[in-house]
Each structure stands twice: as C-alpha cells, then as structure tokens.
Amino acid sequence: MIAYLVRRLAWMVFVLMGVMTLVFFVSRVIPADPIAAMLGGQAPPELVEKLKAKWDLDKPVIQQYIIYLYRLSQGDLGISIASGRPVMADLLHYFPATFELATAGTILSIFFGILLGVISAVKRGSFIDHVARVSALLGVSMPVFWSGLLMLLLFYYTLGWLPGGGQLPYYMSPPPRITGLVTIDSLISGQFSVFVVALKHLVLPSLVLSFFGTAAISRITRSSMLDVLREEYVTTARSKGLSEGKVVMRHALKNALLPVITVIGITYGRLLEGSVITETVFSWPGLGRYATNAFLALDFPAVVGSSMFIALLYAVINLIVDISYAYLNPKIRYH
C-alpha cells in the first residue's frame, strides 16, 4: 500500500509538471500582451518596459520557464499581474469558497443520486423509475450557466425566497476567518444568524451544481443495484425472511456502492469544472471566478498557478477515490 501511494504521489508530481508546462507554453507563445491589456493603449513605453521586466516578460520564453521552475521549487507561484498579490496567497484565499460550494454540491448529488437510483432500481419500470431516468438525462444535458440563471429567475427574482448571489449580503460582516468556510466559521464563532444567511446563500449555487452529479450518480446506482439485486446472496437474504427494506439497504446497497464511488469521484472533479461557471453566475468569490478573471486578463502567473492548483485538486480527488476503493473492497490489494 505504501509503495503504491509513493508511486501515485510521484505520478501526481509528474502530471502537475506536465500541466504546468503545457499551460505555461500555451499562454506565452501568443502575441497578446498582458501589460498592454492592463495599462491600456496610452501607457508610456518606459513604464511598459519596466513592468515587463518586473514579470520577466522581456526574457526569452525558455529562460522564463527556468525562472518559473526555480521559483516553483521554493513554493513561489509568482505575483499576479492583476491583483499584485502572490498567486499562492490568492489561491489559498479563494479556495475555501470553492471547496464549500463543491462539497455542498457533492453532498446534495450523493443524497439525491443514491436515493433516486435505489428507488428506480427497486421499482424498476414504474412511473417513478421513468421520471428519475428522464430527469437524469435532463440533468446531464442542461448547461450549468443556464440552469443557474433559471433558478435565479425563479427563486430570487420571481419568488424572492433565496438570495441572488455572493456568500453573504454586503451589509453583513463575515465571521472571523478560521477555516475560510463561511458556514463552518459562523458556527464555530457562534454566530447563528450569520450561519443561516450563509446557508441560504449556499442553497441555489450548490443545488445547480448538483444537477449533473445527481444525474450521473443515480444512473450508476440504478444499474449497479439492478445487478446486485439479481445476486444469490440477495435471494438468500430474502429467503431468510428479512424485510425488503433490510434486504435493499443492508445487503444490496452496500455491495452496489462500489462503482458508485468512482462516479462520485468523477462528479467531484466535474464539480470543480462546473464551479467555474456557477461561481460566475452566482458571483461566488471562489477559485473558479479567480481563474476565469485570470484567463480573461491574461494574468500569466495567475493562469498557470490556478491551472496547477485545479489539477492538484483533481489528482487528490482521484487518489482518495482509489484509496477508498481498497478500503471498501478488501478483494482489491494495491501493489
């Protein structure tokens, strides 16, 4: 197991370097000029030259790459051109909001996905099964930005039940930053009114984000449950006279969950992707919006840094999925 982990971690480093190199060169082979983009057309040439030198943009690309590698080895991702702060600090600042959103979205997807999947499988061919399958198809096909806007239109503009974006209203001061997760921090510091407001802000974006995951998880749960329900041990459990509920929950679902775990991992990765768009729709101050703004402003250090950070998250999620596999299925042994 340890050897396996070491190999996986080494592979992760390789992948991260690959992503970094790819994005680095893609973002620098182009004629676009981030300094000009930042200053506008009328900037004095001396200032442009000075700023270019500050970000090493006046050096050959290969040299820039070596400088970047050297700094990276010391944990330095450079200074963001747009914000003027270290990219690492920016990433750590924006990450908790994305983590909160993606985790809430995943919890919702797991809950609704498994629920729908199990009901679909147990009541195969029924009306509920058809509804669940069709809504899963719709969930996969709906572009996140559009479902987000529709939810805003309904729950914010029309009904006024839920807030329209952000993590907290502007007049409410955020709780002291402990974990960076507004809901958790407000609980820790005992500010229940802030917690309730923060939770309300979280509902719409996480719900929108969960559509895709719910669809994917319910599909795989359904088919995996159908396979398991045909197994002999399920028949045995039934013939022992166990109640149907016990058979389904204890004997079938537990064994059906293995393939579901992979899909949950994939879903979490997809949520990172979806959060880029959801954060834009709901003005959520997270990593996705930071990355999008960096891309739009050609903020090279931020572009490479946030790409690597996202790749790292992705890799960590995949690793956790694989490890939880071994934990859940003792038949798998990693060498």
Partner: protein, 283 residues
C-alpha cells in the same frame, strides 16, 4: 464500412423512442442550420435601437435583445455556429486522435509510452479549464474555440483507437495478412482501421453534446465566440443583465443549447447501444 450498417443503425435507433427523439432533434437542428439564411425574419447582427428588449410578439416571436436584434433570427444562425463547432472539432480531434492512437497502439515502443503519458496529463485535468486556458491564450474567437476544444478532445479518441489497435494487432488474421506479405501500412489502414471505427464512432457520438456545451460555456464566460456573433452561449450572457424584467433574452438561447445537447446525448446513447457489443449482450 460494411453494407447495411446504416440500415442496422436506423433500425436500432427506431426501436428506442428516446434515441429516435434524439435523432429528430439533431435532424431539426441540421435543417435549421441549412435554411437559417432563407427563413430568418431579420438580420442576426444588425442592431435596431428602437426595438430593444421587446417581449415576444407577432413581429418578434421570441422577442428582441438589448440591441434590438431579433432573438429568433439569432437563434437560427446560432444553430449554424454550434454545428460548425461540433463538426470541425469532431473532424479535427477525431481524425488526429484516431491516427495517433492507431500508430501508437500498432507500433508500440517509446513513442507509444510518451504519447500515452501525454494523454494522461490531458485527462488529469478538467477539460473546460484547459480549453479556457488555450482559448484565452490564443485570443477568444470562434476559430480559437474550435482549436482549443480540439486540443482537449483528441486524447479521448487516441485512447480508444490505441486500445483497439493493441487488441487487433494480436489477432490471427492480422498475423495471416503479415504472413502473406502485406506491408504494415496496408495492415494498418485496411485491417486495423476499419475494425476500430465503431468504438470511435460511438465515442464521437457520445462526445458531441459535451463539445457543444463546452463551446457554449466558453462563450458564456467571455472566452469563446465574441459579440456580436450569434453564438448561443454569448446570447445567454447578453441576457443576464436583463434577467429580472426581460427573461426571454437569455432563456431562449439556453433552451436551444439544452435541446441540442440533449439530442446528441440521446442519439449517442442509442448509437452506443447498437455498436457496443458488450452492452448489447447485457440487454
């Protein structure tokens, strides 16, 4: 491809109502794209300030946007754009990925190892974000969206083609062809390629919806096609500011994206069920 293949496909699609619905949506989309210039009531780009933000009416069945452009006309032309993106990406990424995958799988060796590690890197990364990075670097435009998505997409086909080539390489008839003196290129293109096509087609049909959604997402974020292009994602963004009062501006283009992706997904599932023998046996 063998004769009667399309017929078999059609029969299979016909037998499942959902894939039939998908086929109809896609056919409708193709027809829309073809006839758009002849049936669109207005110019999709010309602005009409006096007509701005008009609700759906007889003159403008789907209303007008913030510059007074007819949304129906823009949607019709948008169908051309979406299909063009999906078609060119499928061609670029599908062909290049297939060729690379076949060569890697058939010849193996160090180039194979290297290329597969490269595909691993691509796959270890959320596709949309890579496409965002490439598109922003190249400068957001319709052409660059196509390039960006193709760069993120080819790996999928390379993987599928490679795994087929590896399997077919060991088959006895390939051995036989080699024994009678067929050259490696002849074997590759006459024997390996045709037998690899169906999983690639399955993959292609499954990817189409995702390609269109990614393109629309890039447009929405401002990293794709640029205004005034009547691209659906751009149109949704245009309408965001007017959402509370003028819901039609972003709702209709969103609906168009949704139906298109849904159509491709339904059709893709249908094609997979026909062409993927493993699944067929399971039924």
């Amino acid at each position: 491809m063998r004769r009667g293949f399309l017929w078999e496909l059609w029969r299979a699609i016909k037998s499942t109502p959902l894939s039939l619905a998908g086929l109809f949506i896609i056919l409708a989309l193709i027809i829309t794209a073809i006839v758009a210039p002849y049936v669109a009531p207005y110019d999709p780009i010309a602005t009409a300030p006096l007509e701005r933000l008009k609700p759906p009416s007889r003159a403008h069945p789907l209303g007008t946007d913030q510059l007074g452009r007819d949304i129906l006309s823009r949607l019709l032309f948008g169908a051309q754009i979406s299909l063009r993106i999906a078609g060119i990406v499928a061609l670029l990424a599908g062909v290049s990925g297939t060729i690379i995958g076949l060569l890697c799988g058939y010849f193996g060796g160090i180039v194979d190892d290297l290329l597969m590690r490269i595909t691993d890197i691509f796959m270890a990364f959320p596709q949309l974000i890579l496409a965002m990075a490439i598109s922003s670097a190249l400068g957001p435009s319709l052409e660059n969206v196509i390039i960006a998505i193709s760069i993120t997409e080819w790996t999928v086909f390379a993987r599928v083609a490679r795994s087929r080539a590896v399997a077919i390489r060991e088959e006895t008839y390939v051995e036989a062809a080699r024994a009678v003196g067929a050259g490696r290129w002849r074997i590759l293109f006459r024997h390996v390629l045709p037998l690899s096509l169906s999983p690639i087609i399955v993959q292609l049909s499954l990817e189409m919806g995702g390609i269109i959604r990614t393109a629309a997402s890039l447009g929405f974020l401002g990293l794709g096609a640029q205004p005034p292009t009547p691209e659906w994602g751009v149109m949704v963004t245009d309408g965001r500011r007017y959402l509370p009062g003028q819901w039609w501006v972003s709702t209709f283009p969103g609906l168009a994206i949704f139906f298109t992706v849904l159509g491709f997904n339904l059709l893709g599932d249908g094609i997979r069920d026909v062409l993927d023998p493993r699944l067929r046996r399971g039924r």
